[in-house]
Symmetry: C2
Subunit: 198 residues, 2 copies
């Protein structure tokens, strides 16, 4: 499409890579950005640059924050004896929105998948074992209720067995095939409170 | 949500203002951006800044380009005796993708709407009349097939009558209630070729 200049074309192509935006909605988004340069486009460009420079991955839990260790790992009011293991930072955010958990987190960075070649070595498993050995009382497995999530939960249960730590998993409320980040806060709370020992 | 730092929170809020992205997809987009800083986030921030600085609104037709007059207005191979009037730049892009039109454009910047207070004075109507008086042979009204689009087309037909210019509109193929930017290229081509005099 030679009519659209390379600057706009490049913007459309980059925006279309974001989850939830296809080529058409990326074009709409670019027009909206160009119409609202002062109040949207320039602030967004600046916010991206600031975030790209400021946001770090927590060396302990894998959370994203401006500091490492992150604010959750450093918060003395949070119980360091209980670690909730999630696949992704989005799941951590979802659980924090539910406000039901006051311990620490551990972000795996994905789930096991033979199809996508995601092996245990590619997830933050070794660092989880190391944290458990430092004296953790309970590990809550908060994987997605997908095949990959449940495969990961079983793998972690096996791997954690030798440490003797108590392992629980989320219970009632997580729909089969559903993903944590889609759930409302009430469902997440129910799942958390009804967690059971494995 | 105090868990998410202000940098990430601001990025989510700005992204959620884009058409097609709600709060949840904006969160997903931010995580994707943070995971792909080098290949997505920083290039996108740069592309936005460059576009914000480089893209101008064409003083003749209202198109967006790095130069004004735009490349379409300056292209000597395009017929300057025929002007296709569209509501928005997205519609111009859609017609260019269809590749069926080789004249000039005129972007109104919207459609008449009593509800939204869009009066003729808020659209690029006066500049259209001025262009017609400079010696145009045909005006093609390519409004959306919505109430606002058709109201706008009728208004323009009335307003252009005194100039004596031939006025046509898109015909077969534009579904009632549909918007140009959603149509496939074949439908747009058919509508263009079957345009009729008003
Ligand atoms: Zn942390
Ligand atoms: Zn132009």
């Amino acid at each position: 499409m030679s009519t659209i200049g390379p600057e706009i074309e490049r913007l459309i192509q980059l925006l279309a890579k974001l989850p939830g935006l296809g080529p058409r909605s990326a074009r709409r988004a670019v027009l909206e950005l160009l119409k609202k340069r002062d109040v949207l486009m320039e602030p967004l460009a600046l916010a991206m640059q600031e975030a790209a420079a400021a946001i770090k991955t927590c060396e302990i839990c894998g959370n994203l924050d401006t500091a490492t260790p992150c604010s959750l790992c450093c918060d003395p009011r949070r119980d360091s004896k209980v670690i909730c293991v999630v696949e992704d930072v989005a799941d951590l955010w979802a659980l924090e929105r539910a406000g039901v958990f006051r311990g620490r987190y551990h972000v795996l960075g994905g789930a096991l998948s033979a199809l996508d070649g995601i092996t245990p070595e590619r997830l933050n498993v070794a660092s989880l074992i190391a944290r458990v050995r430092e004296g953790v009382e309970e590990i809550i497995l908060a994987m997605n209720a997908t095949v990959e999530g449940q495969t990961t939960a079983h793998y972690l249960l096996d791997t954690l067995e030798e440490t003797g730590v108590k392992v629980t998993r989320l219970a009632h409320g997580v729909p089969v095939g559903g993903e944590l980040d889609y759930l409302d806060e009430g469902t997440l709370s129910a799942a958390f409170k009804a967690r059971r020992a494995l």
